[in-house]
């Protein structure tokens, strides 16, 4: 159905830099490639129409296509393990916490391969622990249980092999150690093997991934009977227990990185591939601390998943050097292998941004306006699979789920992995999301299940409504991305007078938050064009570009929740979750914060007394209307999907003007849970007063100002009636005044 797709290695490139394009032609067909500027990604015939403007470039032309593939699943590997002698005994042990016993697939905990006799310690479908050594096999009779800690051990002594497992906590289940033995037909040899944890190599990939936690894997050149095994799970190893160690990995070391540290004498560090989850509670977590930095020894576990993915690692198809004078903005690599039909989509638009130059000295004479592309939100929602897996989704949307070819392709290709809203196959939450893979819902033309009725745009494609509006106004602007802002900080913003956000700028790192606060503190003007902004805190990986982490901690509208003790981010050690929970509610930036969401139909705004303040006169110039935005492409109104409202207790400035408040929301527009302590009997927009968006304006003491719409659907109303409407007029009035140099004066 989806015949061609791809991704770019970079999401934001500056003039003079190179864009790396990776394309998969699913039937090895030829395709045509070109660069286009994105103007409007909405195909809805009720709107101004889909529009991309071709841009001449030296990549334009025909290419021989080839199908590319992705190998998902995290694991640890050590190549060419040393210290295993021919004929010497061997013991492997670890604490494990399986999480997908019902999997129909084999799950390999340990593989020794490439050095002689292959060895696999695995959980077979049905849950039994199995050891395979060469052609021999031994298994335990009692299936393991999900989410229980076990010490598992394998010993090989010449031709005698022993497999054992013991539950490590005696509550609430029985604690019965079990062992099984077998005799090999011939002596096994593992010298020089590669060691894999949580997967096994095949000729082309690593497969049979284990789902669950592994803590303190240890390899010994000795045959250790079961009654003497437990001390080897201590870190550091107790005195007298180090002499036989081949390797003893301690996953609590270097939590932010991708190296699994071996504290044994040979320092045979493991390489962690495809980002298994770190900063996970270990078998010995006491519950007395929740911050892994305080007692790292209780966080010695890594949670591996069959559907972890950092980098699809496709072969580069072509590259494009961005000309030095290239205009900043939203673009896409357009690849086309034929005409589209009801059976096949034969083209893809792969978005990227051209940012302003990285060197500050080169950023002279730039536009006064910057659009902050909420790429963190796009990555957080990357390949959102709830529509495929959540059987309550239709009820929440209040209408049939609407799939497209891209969704069918994603269903057929789970190796493209999921979003920060999804659960892994084992039911644990996805806490890392990378853009180094095709992201099929970050596309122009994409019709999201979460977009309200009508155009049904959400996230990336919803933001193209803003591009189209700016194009209509013929206002020049730069684009910077969340990643750019995180890396460059306030220095990147300080040359701009106005920042316009996307419709859903939900995910911010601490560096981004600080940069925006500094911008406002030094006279910057902010137009917050959406809802549910500055909601979740994220961390960027310190060495791997393009991946963010979220911990769904404590509170908030969550589709999964972090397990107890796992609220601190592994990438940087910060407490994760809602910004509201760390003393930085969104109201401090935008004057409003998230209060409600609903995905069926939108409401509209009603003018409030603040609109009549002389301070707001410029905003309502030529807008005498009482009702604002009772039209639009997103749910039929300007107030919809996710809504923000004022709250002085959470930091809304006391001089902020409430210009308009929304109403007319459906019963399925529900107040968010952090706004209520006890589940209300009437939480819907027809009965709960908190279900509303507040449109606000306030000046800052440094001559700047903030205008916030409080609604994701707002931008979907801009183009109504050929951009001649009160939503476009209000937003245009604000933009024009914000671009004027005259400072604002706070009352």
């Amino acid at each position: 159905m989806f015949k061609i797709l791809g991704y770019t290695q970079e999401i934001s490139v500056a003039p003079g830099e190179t864009l790396t394009c990776k394309i998969s032609a699913e039937e090895n067909q030829r395709y045509f490639a070109r660069i286009v500027r994105l103007v409007n990604g909405d195909c809805n015939p009720e709107g101004p129409g889909f529009r991309v403007d071709p841009v001449p470039s030296d990549i334009e032309g025909w290419y021989e296509g080839s199908k590319q593939s992705t190998d998902a699943g995290s694991y640890m590997v050590v190549r060419g393990l040393s210290g295993i002698e021919e004929g010497a005994p061997l013991t492997f042990m670890a604490a494990i916490w399986p999480t997908y016993i019902k999997s129909p697939l084999r799950q390999v905990i340990l593989a020794l391969d490439g050095g002689g006799t292959p060895l696999r310690l695995l959980i077979e479908p049905g849950g039994r622990l199995v050891l395979e050594v060469g052609d021999s096999r031994v298994q335990l009779s009692t299936p393991l249980l999900d989410r229980h800690w076990y010490r598992v051990a394998v010993t090989v002594n010449v031709t005698e092999v022993t497999l054992g497992a013991e539950m490590l906590r005696d509550f609430p289940m029985r604690k019965v150690p079990e062992e099984a033995q077998a005799t090999l037909a011939a002596e096994a040899s593992f010298a020089g093997s590669d060691l894999y944890l949580a997967g096994a190599p095949s000729s082309t990939r690593v497969e049979d991934h284990f789902n669950g936690k592994i803590d303190r894997p240890t390899l010994l050149a000795a045959s250790v009977p079961v009654e003497l095994q437990q001390p080897y799970l201590d870190r550091p190893l107790p005195p007298g227990h180090g002499s036989a160690v081949i390797a003893a990995w301690d996953f609590s070391i270097g939590m932010e990185g991708t190296v699994a540290t071996d504290i044994g004498p040979r320092r045979q560090h493991g390489e962690l591939r495809e980002l298994p989850a770190r900063a996970m509670t270990g078998f010995n977590w006491t519950g007395q601390v929740h911050d892994w930095k305080q007692r790292p020894e209780e966080y010695g576990a890594i949670h591996f998943h069959q559907d972890d993915l950092y980098d699809a690692n496709w072969t580069t198809s072509f590259t494009w050097k961005v000309p030095e004078d290239f205009r900043s903005g939203p673009y896409a690599v357009h690849v086309k292998a034929g005409e589209n039909s009801e059976y096949a989509t034969n083209e893809d638009f792969i978005p990227f941004y051209v940012r302003p130059p990285r060197e500050k000295a080169k950023r002279k004479g730039r536009p006064k306006l910057a659009f902050l592309a909420p790429t963190n939100s796009y990555i957080a929602y990357a390949n959102d699979s709830q529509v495929l897996m959540d059987r309550g989704a239709e009820t929440g949307m209040n209408r049939l789920l609407n799939l497209q070819h891209a969704d069918v392709y994603l269903h057929e290709h789970p190796e493209l992995c999921a979003s920060l809203y999804d659960k892994h196959a084992d039911g644990s939450g996805v806490c890392y999301s990378s853009r180094l893979r095709p992201v099929l819902n970050m596309r122009p033309r994409y019709h999201s299940w979460l977009g309200s009725h009508g155009s049904a745009l959400y996230q990336f494609n919803g933001d193209t409504h803003i591009f189209a509006w700016l194009e209509h106004l013929q206002v020049d602007y730069d684009i910077i991305t969340d990643e750019d802002l995180h890396e460059d900080g306030f220095e990147l913003l300080e040359g701009y007078q106005v920042v316009v956000t996307g419709t859903h700028p939900e995910y911010h790192s601490t560096a981004m938050w600080d940069a925006m606060k500094a911008f406002l503190g030094q006279g910057g003007r902010l137009i917050y064009m959406g809802g549910n902004g500055w909601y979740w805190r994220v961390a960027f990986h310190q060495s791997l570009p393009g991946v963010i982490e979220v911990r769904r901690a404590e509170d908030g509208t969550r589709t999964w929740e972090a397990d107890p003790g796992e609220y601190y981010q592994s990438f940087n050690g910060e407490f994760g979750g809602l910004w509201r929970r760390v003393g930085r509610p969104p109201n401090l930036i935008a004057g409003i914060g998230f209060v409600a969401q609903g995905f069926d139909m939108s409401g509209y705004f009603r003018r409030q007394p603040g609109a009549d303040s002389p301070r707001a006169g410029f905003i309502f110039q030529d807008v005498p209307d009482e009702i604002i935005g009772d039209f639009g492409l997103i749910g039929g109104g300007a107030a919809g999907i996710e809504l923000d409202a004022m709250n002085h207790k959470l930091g809304t400035p006391h001089h902020a003007l409430c210009l308009a408040t929304s109403e007319g929301h459906t019963p399925l527009t529900i107040v968010t849970k952090e706004e209520v302590l006890v589940m209300p009997v009437a939480a819907g927009g027809d009965q709960h007063d908190k279900v509303r968006a507040d449109m606000v304006f306030f000046e800052t003491s440094s001559g700047g100002a903030v205008f916030s719409t409080g609604s994701i659907a707002w931008a979907g109303s801009l183009s109504w009636n050929g951009y001649d409407n009160n939503v476009a007029r209000i937003t245009g009035n604000v933009l024009r005044r914000f671009l004027e140099p005259a400072p604002f004066e706070a009352p």
Binding site: M389, R391, L401, N402, L403, V408, G636, P667
Partner: protein, 103 residues
């Protein structure tokens, strides 16, 4: 226990839905819709947009991710509203045994 549709009591909501397929529904209709939309077997009836904003067909999401999506293109809808009404009638009949008069 979740509400079970009573055709005698709930028949009134069929007309309400026919007149307003999306958006504000009365509490009674919403309860009926929530009941009809509940997956009975882990599968999910959806629509697949085969031509943007012009053409839709039925697609069944399977219970398990490793199973294929079943596409049923014997009926082609020319609007989302047409699909909503068709699926409502189909589900109503499954839940109550009653065919809705579509004239």
């Amino acid at each position: 226990m979740a509400y079970k549709i009573d055709p005698e009591q709930d028949r009134v909501y069929v007309e309400e839905f026919r007149k307003n397929l999306m958006g504000h529904h009365s509490p009674g209709l919403q309860r009926v819709l929530n009941s009809l939309r509940r997956s009975k077997d882990g599968r999910q009836l959806t629509i697949l947009m085969t031509v943007p904003f012009k053409q839709w067909v039925i697609a069944w999401l399977p219970k398990n991710r490793w199973e294929a999506i079943e596409i049923d293109d014997r009926i082609v809808f020319e609007s989302r509203e047409e699909a909503e009404w068709h699926v409502f009638c189909r589900r109503w009949e499954e839940a109550t045994g009653e065919k809705i008069d579509n004239r």
